[in-house]
Structure formats: C-alpha cells, structure tokens
Symmetry: C3
Subunit: 314 residues, 3 copies
Amino acid sequence: MSNRRDFFKWAGVASAVSVAAVTRHALAAIPEPHSQSSAATMPALQTDAAHYQPVVTLNGWTLPWRMKDGVKEFHLVAEPVVREIAPGMKARLWGYNGQSPGPTIEVVEGDKLRIFVTNKLPEHTSVHWHGQRVPNGMDGVTGLTQKGIQPGKTFVYEFTARRAGTFMYHPHADEMTQMAMGMMGMWITHPKTPHPLISEVERDFCFLMNAYDIEPGSFTPNIMTMTDFNLWTWNSRAFPGIDSLNVRLNDRVRIRIGNLTMTNHPIHLHGHEFQVTGTDGGAIPLSARWSEVTTDIAVGQMRQIEFVADEEGD
Amino acid sequence: MSNRRDFFKWAGVASAVSVAAVTRHALAAIPEPHSQSSAATMPALQTDAAHYQPVVTLNGWTLPWRMKDGVKEFHLVAEPVVREIAPGMKARLWGYNGQSPGPTIEVVEGDKLRIFVTNKLPEHTSVHWHGQRVPNGMDGVTGLTQKGIQPGKTFVYEFTARRAGTFMYHPHADEMTQMAMGMMGMWITHPKTPHPLISEVERDFCFLMNAYDIEPGSFTPNIMTMTDFNLWTWNSRAFPGIDSLNVRLNDRVRIRIGNLTMTNHPIHLHGHEFQVTGTDGGAIPLSARWSEVTTDIAVGQMRQIEFVADEEGD
Amino acid sequence: MSNRRDFFKWAGVASAVSVAAVTRHALAAIPEPHSQSSAATMPALQTDAAHYQPVVTLNGWTLPWRMKDGVKEFHLVAEPVVREIAPGMKARLWGYNGQSPGPTIEVVEGDKLRIFVTNKLPEHTSVHWHGQRVPNGMDGVTGLTQKGIQPGKTFVYEFTARRAGTFMYHPHADEMTQMAMGMMGMWITHPKTPHPLISEVERDFCFLMNAYDIEPGSFTPNIMTMTDFNLWTWNSRAFPGIDSLNVRLNDRVRIRIGNLTMTNHPIHLHGHEFQVTGTDGGAIPLSARWSEVTTDIAVGQMRQIEFVADEEGD
C-alpha cells in the first residue's frame, strides 16, 4: 500500500504546501490506482450511471473512478512507463498509470471531482487541466498556482466539471522534459442534458498527437529536440501500430484530437468532408461551421471533427 | 504509339491489379497525351461546351480532354520533367505531361470522368484525388486501395465529379520522394448550375505552394529535406519568375491556393481585404465568413480567397 | 536639428524619388521625434481629443502626435537601439524612436495622417502599413511602390485611416535583416463612431510576437536564422521580463496580438475561454465567432481576442 503511505506522508506536510487543496475528503483513504499494461485500444468504459456515449481512446483506455460521498474520485499516478510505440519498438517514457499517454478521464458536466495525483517520478510534477474552468489554486502551474508535487507525494485536485467539452491534461512542471517524455492525457466532459451544439453520435473517438526523438538503438526520447522529431505518433503510437477507427456505414462519427507536439499538424480525411464542431473552448455555433477535408491543429489546440460515414469502405 | 502499347500491356494484367478499374471503356484506345514545354502562364482553356469561367493556372496550364460516349477523358503522364523554376534556373523534377506541377484538370459537377494515368517514372506511382468523393478503389492510395502503377503501365481512374470545388491531385506512392520531386496538380470542379455560395467572378486563378531543396550547382531536389528548404515556390516557380495575377479595376477575383509544402504557409495580400470563401471541403456558408489580409494555409489544405479589386494599382 | 536638415536634404532630391509623396505639407517643418528609453509598459496615451479607450502596449509605448492643419503628424525614426530583452540582458537591435518594437501608433477612423520616417540606419528602409488600405505609392514596398529611404533621409507617408482595426507596420526593404533585427510596431485605428462589431472594453492591450537568435556572449541577432531561434519574445521582451496584463474582476478585456516571428505561434489562455473578434482584415461577424482557449496566429496575422475576466485570480 505504498500509495496510501505516500499520501499520508504528504498529508503531514500539506499545510505548508497548499492548504486550499486539503479538505476532510482528501484525508480519507485514496482509491487504489488502476494501471494498464497494453497499448491496444480498450473498449469504452461503460458504467451503470452513464447516460452518455463513452469515448474510445485510440490505443488507449479510460480511467475507472469511484463515487465517494457524491464526489467522483480518480487516482492518477505519474510514473516512468514502457510504451510499445509500434510492434517491436518499446520506449521508456513517462506517463500515468502504466501508459503514455495517460488514461482518458471521462466525466459529466456538473460532476464534483477529486483527483489524487501521486508522483512516482524522480522530480516534482503537477497536473494542469487544460481548457477547464477551475479555481486558480487547482490550475496546476508550478511556481504560480501551486508548489510542485514532490517525488513520493500525492496531491489532491478538487473542482467541479463546469463546462462540457474536450480537454487535455499535462504537467506544468519542468514542461520541456515531462511533455517530451510523454506526460499527457485527454479529458472528456459530457453534457448533463442534451446540448443543442453537441451531437449524439454512434462513434466517439479521441487521441492526442505527440512526437518523440528516439535515436535508433536508444529507448529514451531526446528531450532537447524542438523541431526535428523522428517519431510522429498518435497517443504515443506510430504506424503500423496505430489501430483503425472502425465504424459502420452511416454512423455519425466524432473524433476529438488534441495536439501536444511542438508544431502545427493538419488532420486530413479521405472520402468524406467533415465539420469542426468544437474546440477546447466549447462547441462551435452552427452558423460558424464549415466543411473541410483537412483541419489544422496548432500546438495546444483541440478540435472535434464530425461527419456521417456514408461512403462504403473496402 | 508507346503509350497505347503500354496500355495494352497493362490491360493484360489488369485482372490481377484492380478489376473494378477495368471497364469496357478503359479497353478502348486511350487519348494521346498533351504535353507542355513552357513555364509561362497559359491562357484559360476555353471550350465550346463550357458555360463556366475557366481558371487561369499561375505559370501553368489546363489539360485538354476529349468526350467519349458521354465521358470526359483525360490522359496524365507521370514522368521526369525539366522545369524552369526561374529564368536561368532549370531543375530536374518529376511531374505530369511535361511540367511540374501537372496541368490543372477542370470539369463540371456531374461529369463522368475517365482519367488514364501512364507511368513513365522509374518506380510505381498512383494518383490520389485529394478532397473528392470517389469510390474507395479510385482513391489512389497504394497499399490500401490499389497496387501501384508499375513503370510503363497505364491505370484508368473512373468516377463522377460529385462535388463542386477546388481540389488537388498527387501520388500516394513513395510520397516522400514523389511529392518532394514535384508531383502534384490542381483540380477544379465547376458547379453545374449557379451555386448560392460560389460567386461568379471576372478572374479565377489557381496555384499550389510547394518547396524544394536544390543545392547550388545541383539540378535535382534533395528529397530527404523535411524542414530546411531553400526554394519556396508557387507552382514550382520562384521569384522573379512568378507571373503577376493581372486584373481590371473592380473585377471580382478568386484565387484558389493549395499548400503541398511541408509546413503551414500564410498568404498575405496588400491593399485589399479578402474573404476565404471555400476549402477543399466545400464552400463556406456566408454566416461563417470573415475578412482577412493574411490567411494561413496548412499542409494539404486548400483555400479559395475572394475580393473585389476596387483599389487602383500603379 | 539634424532631423530637419536631413529632411531638407531629402526634399532636394524628392522629385527624383517619389513625386507623389511630396506635397506642400511635407515641406513644412517636421515634428521633433519622441524617443523612449525604457522597456517598461507605459501608461496608455490619453489625449484631450480622444473619445476612445486608448490601448496599453505590453512593455511598450504609444507615439505622441501633433495636429497640423487638420492632419495628425507622427515622426518615426528608424535607428539602432539597445533593447532590454529581460533584466540583465540587453540586445543591440534596430527599431524606431529608441525601442524595438517601435511605438504603437493610435489613430481614429477618418483621420488624415502624415507620417515622417527618418532613416538613421546604415542602409535604406521603408515602412509598410500592413493591413491598411492606402494609396499604392504609400504602401512602402521598396522596388515596387517606392525607392528605399536612404540613410539620413526622411520620407513622408500621407494617407487617411480608412478602416478601424488592428494593424502592424514594418519595413519592406531588406526584410530578412530589418525584421530579424526588430523593426516592427503596432497600429490601432479606433472606430469614429460606435461599431456594432467592436466592443467597448475596460482593458485593451496589444503586443507583437517576435523571435531572435542571439548567442550567449553576443548582443546582436543572427539575422540568417530561419527556424531555430533561441529567444521567443513578446514585443522584444522575454520571460521573466514580460509585464503581466492586469485587469479587474469582470472587466471586458481585449488583447490584440500580431505575429512577426517566422512560424505559427498559438496563444493559450488559462482559466477563461475567449473569442477571436477581429483580424487585420476587420471585425469578425458575430455569427462567425466561436470560443477557444488557444488560437493559432500565423506569420503576418493579427488576432483580437476578447473575454470577460469573471474568474478570480490569486
């Protein structure tokens, strides 16, 4: 039970670190962390309570949670991982709960949330909930809104999922290193009630674009690389290891894509036009949408694209 | 008549390659290919049948076609070419029908099309009709929707021009090499009847942005270059060799621009604001348009910009 | 009175340079240039005549002007400057009126303008009024619309501010050198009367993104660098020297951002969503706006972002 021990260690110094983050809830037992050893695309996380269509994370998975006194509790563990980037190629990355990227976190608008973040890295870290409206002290920027979570410690983020949409999470601590090593994940907040600008879809996929520079014969990314990467990956997975996004004829399809590489990256679709229906800033009004076959996604941006798969494949 | 001979050679193995692509029409004589030796901007291709305003291709030309039993037939020849990038500078590129980029293909919504592609390169190729809705087997992706067209062979693409707009074509076979060598071209599908979102214009221009890395004293692009190009070209033409786009005062002007370089490239206009009126995904609704003086075009994107040239030049 | 002497020298050769640019007004005495020695954010320039909310230039200042026979007269001096990029780091740049970037120029729609540009650089220069509608001869492109302003000479630009919005200015003469050395500035044209698409705001900030390559131990940018910069700056100012943009709770905030680096650069905001409300092409119609937390700004683009600061800081 090392996690729990670490947590109580942390609790002992909490008043010196971030009083606001320590509530009586946080001092209760923390949930056992879930971990994932496979790089395969896992089935969507179906839950009894879910009235929403859960997402499928490309070559990834969704983090289970537990309900505690009306609060959804998640446990992220920042740690070194071995990620299979493609069959035959494993890399030593940093991630969460056994994989890079970390698991997708999936909640519903209005949910009260408590996220335990345990740091098993050799240096301090934090988690920034990119795009979300959270109290300033929960924003996860070391040196600005919190002190870094030290190795062996657990920090508790508490906030309410105020806005439906697609978001990302990643450290704001030694960013050059930690993001170049693979620390990132996606976050989906489903609308509580039907939303006029958020379509109900038959297929809902998500992934992050990232990039690595791992020299032949090496297993660890060169974290100083800024422009000349040799591995362009989707969810830390490269061709031919990337799973296909399978749909049925006439399915309405949504794909949520974030870019945490170091450069703009366009996403191009063959055979169908799509519309960009939302960003991490929210859903796009119908009057502002147009059709594309290639959408550009800048660094730190998120794009939701949607189309009806009305053309047969092979 | 080497082309015809090659075609029949190809016809002999067609059943092993792509049965769907071989129809009784395809077995008929193929049209003689047209070729272009000049890098000058050629006049628009006026045809008796055309009720549309044909486009002018910057430092390029439009491919003539013939009508055969209700089908418009084109003949593209993929081949090594010598392209005059600017006065005094010729480069050994790969292109189509004598030039790089290849000729613009111009059709009308609803046209039934047959495009013969003869491969005179030293390696296999294919043609992807970027942005268009075509049957899966006509999409031109080697290893996925077809086998590559072998050297000396001719492949027949058949589909209907389903959607008005601006598109591109390029190989999906050894892409790093073939696109770095200059293989690409534009495709215009004019609306069959007046389209509420496609303006009638007095001037309609098109070009592709591309980039080369040709070292001084050399004539052939370095195809391994990914970021550090030394020639930024429009239709494989560099300043001061790029022709001007001449218009009359108060002309309504449309410029269709695709980007097949390796990075985003903005297009900036002095003296007038413009609107982006369409992409390769279709026309942009009026409610979604806004004014710009600089539009960013990502790799693989196409932008139609329009403005009224109501300011006098010099 | 070296400036005035230079001006008359210039006036003597004006007929050989650009007759159109020489009017009887231009031959009158030119205003004394204002200069700025500090890299701090200066207060907004309040004027008696102003019915507008003046902008605050991040780590910069606004150029005072004088009224002469119904014309607003400004005097820009292109010259070598020493810019404090951050505390402890000074760089030898080129700029205007003592700083790089140059001062913000702030006018009102319909204003008649006369801008004296004195060249104290060791080579010719010009000023292009990026995004504005000006007579062709006032567009500032050497070799095309004017001859370069020679060292020691003064050129007079005269035009009317025809369109409200956010613009930039920079040389179009030896651009690779002059812009890499820091020559650029912002231009705000306020609407003459309330504009349905230009919000009244409590806070109005502006800055340009630029980038330098200055090796450790050196003081002068490497002007040949195209992709691998080591200083990413806002108004030639780097962290931790960049001032914060301070607002009150519930202020409506506008930030006008231009990009004159060599690559796309996204702007990301924590804690609030924003809308892009305008570009250098004009205000964006309400129907075309959407929310973002990260907007991409391409080279040569300008974006106005707006939001209500309704979340408390720390």
